[in-house]
């Protein structure tokens, strides 16, 4: 299909339909409202299910139920709404239910504001749920990448029998960009969902039950070790990142994701015009964090400058990934403030001055 001009939120909605989403359950919140608005109109045309639930808590439990019946399910919200959904997400991980969660991030804590933010990093990567849990999570940078990841995510969720979260800041939800909605994406071989509760116990000869409750601690430990094996598999197979301007083995390497990476790109170009070469690691997967990109850094790279629209959350993962090999610097704005290119340029120059 030829390219069309899409707004981030509606592009994600259409991508979900194209990715085979059977049902959507959600509750409105700015800045992601165009997503459910689009689905409320279009899901019916495709014979799919759309429900506006009475709350975020209701929505995530509807996701749990529909996923348990074997459907491909989506919910979307923004930061405080995702916080409300954490209990349900933990239950999904515990019950090994697939599902896709789109988080269009805004400023926090609490209700915060409606402007773009990346301050959910810890909520996403450490999760707000209880137990030894992980959610496979991606943070794309532009609408084409977002669309492709949303389409792919339903198969990924089924493959791992685990929730997948796609986190974009409010800017990506609201901005417009040309996209090809039909670019082919990677598919996964997904075994039939013989675990689903479909009301066919008589036909199957056994009753499928979906629970996250295991009262025998040895059984619960065994269950957790199985989950852990899945997370290890994600770490092995799903690390995604992009390297930008790294051929010159630059001394300073930026680390940024989402909209922040877009601004960082413009800073890289501005610095290049002044004869200063800096590179960038752009994480696309947040869990698993792209350790491989850091392991492959040249010995000439001395400093990693972490850039966030939050105040030092990914910074911790950069420290872990560097493992003491680099000087770690940080620049961030928060609360919905989007930094300008020259703020990053100034920070890089300040680091260079100190290094002399």
């Amino acid at each position: 299909m030829a390219k069309v001009l899409m707004k981030g939120n509606e592009a994600m909605a259409l991508a979900a339909i194209k990715g085979g989403c059977d049902a959507f359950f959600g509750y409105p919140i700015t800045p992601q409202n165009e997503l459910p608005e689009y689905l409320s109109y279009h899901m019916e045309q495709y014979g799919r299910v759309f429900v506006q639930a009475e709350s975020e808590v209701a929505a995530i439990n509807m996701v749990y139920g529909a996923a348990g019946s074997g459907a491909r399910v989506l919910t979307s919200s923004s930061s405080p709404g995702i916080a409300l959904k954490q209990e349900g997400i933990s239950y999904m991980v515990g019950s090994e239910l697939p599902g896709v969660i789109i988080n269009v991030m805004r400023g926090g804590p609490g209700l915060g504001g409606i402007q773009p933010s990346q301050a959910d990093y810890n909520q996403i990567t450490r999760t707000g749920g209880n137990g030894d849990m992980k959610v496979l999570s991606f943070a794309p940078e532009n609408l084409q990448e977002t669309v492709n990841i949303v389409k792919e995510s339903f198969a990924l969720a089924d493959y791992y029998r685990n929730p997948v979260m796609i986190a974009v800041d409010g800017l990506l939800g609201q901005m417009m960009e040309p996209v090809d909605m039909d670019q082919p994406v990677e598919t996964r071989e997904v075994p039939p969902k013989d675990w689903a509760a479909t009301g066919e116990a008589a036909k199957r000869g056994k009753r499928n039950t979906i629970v996250s409750l295991h009262l025998d601690p040895y059984k619960l430990e065994e269950h957790n070790l199985n989950l852990q094996a899945k997370y290890t598999k994600m770490i092995e197979n799903e690390q995604r990142y992009e390297l930008i301007n790294m051929d010159s083995e630059p001394e300073i390497v930026l680390v940024a994701y989402g909209s922040m990476a877009r601004i960082a790109r413009s800073a890289i170009d501005a610095l290049k015009d002044e004869g200063i070469e800096v590179g960038m690691i752009r994480p696309i997967s947040l869990f698993p964090y792209p350790q491989k990109a850091f392991d492959a850094l040249s010995e000439k790279t001395k400093t990693l400058l972490t850039l966030e629209m939050s105040l030092g959350q990914m910074l911790q993962d950069v420290r872990l990934a560097s493992n003491g090999k680099h000087r770690i610097e940080f620049f961030g704005r928060t609360g919905g403030v989007v930094p300008e290119t020259d703020e990053i340029v100034s920070k890089v120059k300040a680091i260079m001055k100190e290094a002399v």
Partner: protein, 215 residues
């Protein structure tokens, strides 16, 4: 252009960018942001730029609360309808609900002094063909209680726009014109598209004042 221009268009049509472009180039006195639907990228983010061109921006938010998503229309928005010395552009949301805001001014509207223009980008799925555009025209005219008397061809794929994209848009809009009798009033051409081709209506270069350069 008449003394008052009301611009409407589906979200993503480029209406707000065009409102700013026209406000600056046509040297109007006031740009009224009546778009209470879209929470980001509104004309109000260019207040300083407009002020430097002596254009007063009337915002659709409560003063000093730009982060609020509370729908709000300033009382000042009525002024151009009462004071014939003021030239103004209205940026009106292009949805059934958004366009209804126009109805509050119905009793003050003199059709001779007002243009109601519809901004179209055929690369938006909601306005990709003549039938969809005509349905939108009917819907907006009903909600706003005002006849659309001009179309603006803003068919683009942002930085990826070529002359052919604009021509494709013109083809679709000409079909709309034939069926509705509404002429193409303007064609907007992205700054980077270098062409000597003369498109329908008044040809204008589109300067992107609202989008950040890294977007």
């Amino acid at each position: 252009m008449k003394r008052i221009t009301v611009l409407s268009g589906h979200y993503g049509s480029g209406k707000s960018e065009i409102a700013v472009n026209l406000a600056i180039n046509e040297k109007v006195d006031m740009l009224v942001d009546l778009d209470i639907v879209n929470p980001y990228f509104r004309s109000r983010s260019v207040r300083d730029l407009l002020e430097s061109h002596q254009v007063r921006l009337v915002e659709s938010t409560i003063e000093n609360a730009s982060g609020s998503d509370l729908p709000y229309v300033s009382g000042t928005a009525l002024k151009p309808f009462l004071d014939p010395s003021i030239r103004a552009i209205y940026d009106l949301a292009g949805t059934k609900a958004g366009a209804k805001l126009m109805m509050q001014y119905t009793e003050h509207i003199n059709p001779d002094s007002i243009d109601f223009l519809l901004v179209i980008n055929i690369y938006r799925m909601e306005t990709s063909d003549a039938a969809k555009i005509i349905a939108l025209i009917d819907e907006l005219e009903g909600s706003a209680q005002l006849r659309i008397n001009g179309l603006i061809n803003n068919s683009n794929l942002m930085k990826e726009t070529t002359q052919e994209h604009i021509e494709e848009g013109e083809k679709v809009l000409k079909t709309v014109s034939e069926k509705t009798g509404i002429p193409i009033a303007f064609t907007f051409i992205e700054e980077h598209v270098k062409t000597n081709h003369i498109f329908a209506g008044r040809n204008r270069t589109l300067v992107r004042y609202l989008a950040k350069h890294w977007l």
